[in-house]
């Protein structure tokens, strides 16, 4: 398979237009029964010289609880790269319906600190189309480079599931191993998430997916209430880990049950130290104190 090279986009794609387009595409495909194909688009999309709006950065840092330094939080970079990834998923040759996809996992390598003043080149591509016990999953890979060099400074892999979509030729993954009984530990934090949590994160991240905005808009897409953005929750856990993580780290999260708003979410962070006391990793788990159900787990690890 030859690399067709990236599709360089003149400007950062607009997320709101992408969502509207995704809805239109979904309607068209339903009407026309278009054959979606079974392969991911080979092209990656790229936006060059992306500049960060410092006011948006500050608003993000305030909402998530990150110190408002000049360094871009890893989750902010995810939000920055998200429209580029969305534009790939919006392509006509993208085989899965974009709307209604579920974010299963996210994995970020923060290879060095990135200052808000650096113009960034952001590339996104779709990879690893594969089966899942309840549908089809794939990885959206985003890479961020400084406009001045070739080194990847930040790399994010977001794994999404198209539930109930089974493509011919792609095997179902064998049944999920039974989840072990979860016994909630003593929490280190308790978050009170209001009904406006989704709107507040949408305002700083630009991700106005209707399932996060209000009960009404979420119901239109088949949810019983609006849910918190997964990356909002994961970013808050990352912020709670704090400055101990340093400037280069790996950050993982696996999403389990969605957080319906409003909600109380309990969080536990466990710090693992190397011999000699240096920080090695922080593992986190979040659950519903009412239902005792796990919402997400993850880790931040030294690089």
């Amino acid at each position: 398979m030859s690399d067709p090279g990236p599709v360089v986009m003149g400007d950062m794609p607009s997320l709101s237009k992408l969502y509207v387009n995704a809805a239109a595409t979904a309607a068209r495909r339903r009407l026309l029964g278009t054959d979606l194909g079974t392969a991911l688009p080979e092209s990656s999309h790229e936006v060059r010289g992306v500049k960060v709006d410092v006011e948006k950065l500050t608003a993000y840092q305030h909402l998530i609880g990150e110190p408002a330094t000049d360094v871009l939080p890893a989750g902010f970079i995810h939000a920055l790269a998200f429209p580029v990834a969305m534009s790939v998923m919006n392509r006509d040759d993208f085989p899965l319906p974009l709307l209604g996809m579920i974010h299963l996992r996210n994995s970020v390598e923060q290879r060095r600190a990135i200052s808000f003043a650096e113009p960034l080149d952001i590339t996104a591509s779709a990879m690893n189309l594969r089966g899942h016990r309840s549908g089809t999953q794939l990885d959206m890979v985003a890479e961020v480079r400084s406009g001045k060099g070739d080194d990847v400074l930040w790399r994010g892999v977001s794994t999404y599931l198209a539930k109930g979509v089974f493509l011919p030729g792609i095997d179902k993954q064998s049944a999920h191993k039974a989840a072990a009984d979860f016994r909630p530990p003593n929490p280190t934090a308790l978050w009170q998430l209001g009904v406006d949590t989704g709107r507040a994160y949408a305002a700083v991240s630009g991700d106005f997916n209707p399932i996060h905005l209000s009960a009404l808009s979420a119901k239109a897409l088949g949810m019983r209430r609006s849910i918190a953005h997964g990356m909002y929750l994961a970013a808050r856990a990352l912020a709670d880990v704090g400055a101990v993580k340093g400037e280069a780290f790996n950050w993982e999260v696996s999403f389990e049950a969605p957080v319906f708003l409003p909600a109380r979410v309990a969080l536990d962070i466990t710090t693992v130290q190397a011999d000699g006391g240096a920080w090695e990793r922080s593992d986190y788990v979040a659950w519903s104190p009412k239902a005792g159900r796990k919402h997400f787990t993850g880790s931040v690890t030294v690089r």
């Binding site: 410092v54 006011e55 500050t58 608003a59 840092q61 305030h62 110190p67 408002a68 330094t69 000049d70 808000f116 003043a117 704090g242 400055a243 101990v244 340093g246």
Partner: protein, 450 residues
């Protein structure tokens, strides 16, 4: 004790442990550039800026994961949610989470007071290292609900039934919905700081030309200090700003002379205070690393200057006996007497430029024979400050003045200047810091090169 007298000094321990006082040294400092209100830091909170200044200090001196003895800082314009402002900034920084912190508030003297308080703890052997600091944002200032609305909201919380609630709500008047914004007015006089200083400026017959010249020198000196790289190891850029945004390197006496007076316009005499010779509202933060000699040596860090002594004073400005910003005029003679020094024994004077008129009124009072005799209890005038030693790398008129951050700016810069000067006539180079504050207060200090 008379108002002009000295404190009886030196508590003599009669029994128990008697410890030798040790030295407290300034290792270095870090601040973010100061920004005019509504500029680069419009959306930045006090906690943001203090954390940014702290981060730069930690990076400069390799303090990651270090447990510092104590961190003290403060803000003058402070949100009630920021009750633990300094501790929160520490928790957001790479310092060890086991570093204790507390907030200080003494108006514009906050920053210098944190330096003196922490230096005293180091001298006493209570702590080995400390970070002093201050921050202020006039852009992100707290706005309170009106007193009427506040009372109704609190009452509403106390009642249980709907009829009771409606009764409480019926007390609300339309005017109660107007918010209460902070201002620089003195609560007891209703006069703004500028109007107070205008009275003092007129009383000491300070001319417009003299004020403009002081402002001009402040800009010229600060610009030259930047050009010489003086601030390279004192400032970390923040939010795209690398220099104080109020600095006007190209200003001139002619330009300053064209500005219209803004304070003292209702006085009988000529109004002389303009936006050019008064400090603008500013956002910013500063930090200073203090330590015992042993701690600095063990961490292989520099020892720029020693914090020798400090003195606070206050004046009765409410009934016009003295000007609002004239307390340092009384603090300095007491500090000098306690240390057996005169104004001639100093190589640098850092007199905070709240207004050019403040500095010039202070100098005029010290040069005045009659004032020295009747008010300072001296045999004559305190003395003359050699203008060539005054604010040589610029001061607040050019840099701006984020209230609580000014003390840290001055101490870090002065410590560096003293260290560079080394010794003068066989003694350590010596500097005097003088900072006036709202409420008729002032804090002054002596530093010596190490």
């Amino acid at each position: 004790m008379s108002e002009t007298g000295r404190e009886e000094s030196f508590v003599q321990p009669t029994q128990g442990i008697q410890r030798q006082l040790r030295k407290a040294v300034v290792v270095g400092g870090n601040r973010i550039p100061f920004a005019r209100t509504g500029g680069a830091y419009t959306k930045s909170s006090n906690q943001d800026m203090l954390t940014a200044a702290l981060d730069g200090l930690i990076a400069r001196f390799g303090l990651q994961d270090e447990r510092i003895g104590e961190v003290a800082a403060g803000a003058v314009l402070k949100h009630s949610r920021d009750f633990n402002l300094t501790r929160e900034a520490v928790l957001g920084s790479p310092l060890a989470a086991e570093t204790p912190a507390y907030d200080v508030q003494q108006a514009c003297a906050t920053g210098l007071e944190t330096v003196l308080g922490l230096a005293n703890k180091i001298k006493l052997g209570q702590i080995d290292s400390a970070i002093a600091g201050g921050v202020d944002s006039a852009s992100d200032a707290p706005i309170a609900v009106s007193e009427g609305l506040r009372e109704v909201l609190l009452d509403l919380n106390r009642v249980k039934t709907l009829p009771q609630r409606l009764k409480v709500l019926s007390k609300l008047r339309p005017k109660d919905l107007a918010p209460d914004a902070p201002n620089t007015g003195e609560p007891r006089t209703g006069l703004s700081m500028g109007e107070h200083q205008a009275l003092t400026t007129a009383q000491w017959k300070i001319t417009r030309e003299a004020q403009d010249e002081l402002a001009y020198n402040s800009h010229r000196n600060l610009a030259a200090a930047y050009d010489a790289g003086f601030f390279d190891d004192l400032i970390t850029p923040y939010r795209g700003l690398t220099r104080d945004s109020n600095l006007r390197p190209d200003t001139s006496l002619e330009k300053l002379a064209t500005l219209k007076p803004v304070f003292g316009k209702s006085l009988g005499s000529e109004a002389t205070m303009t936006a050019g010779n008064s400090t603008p509202l500013t956002d910013g933060a500063s930090t200073v690393l203090l330590a015992s000699e042993e701690w600095a040596d063990a961490h292989d860090l520099p020892k720029l200057a020693a914090v020798i002594d400090g003195e606070a004073a206050a004046v009765d400005f409410v009934h016009g006996k003295d000007g609002l910003l004239m307390a340092p005029v009384f603090a300095v003679p007491r500090l000098l007497a306690r240390n057996g020094l005169t104004l001639d024994d100093f190589d640098f004077f850092e007199i905070h430029e709240a207004f050019a008129g403040t500095v010039l009124s202070t100098l005029a009072a010290w040069e005045n024979d009659e004032f020295g005799r009747s008010r300072l209890g001296l045999e004559g005038a305190l003395g003359v400050v050699d203008r060539s030693k005054l604010n040589v790398n610029g001061s607040s008129l050019a840099a701006g003045h984020p209230f609580a951050a000014t003390g840290g700016r001055i101490v870090a810069s002065l410590a560096k200047m003293l260290h560079a000067r080394g010794h003068v006539d066989g003694r350590p180079a010596r500097g005097l810091v003088s900072i006036c504050a709202a409420g008729g207060q002032g804090v002054v200090a002596i530093l010596e090169s190490h």
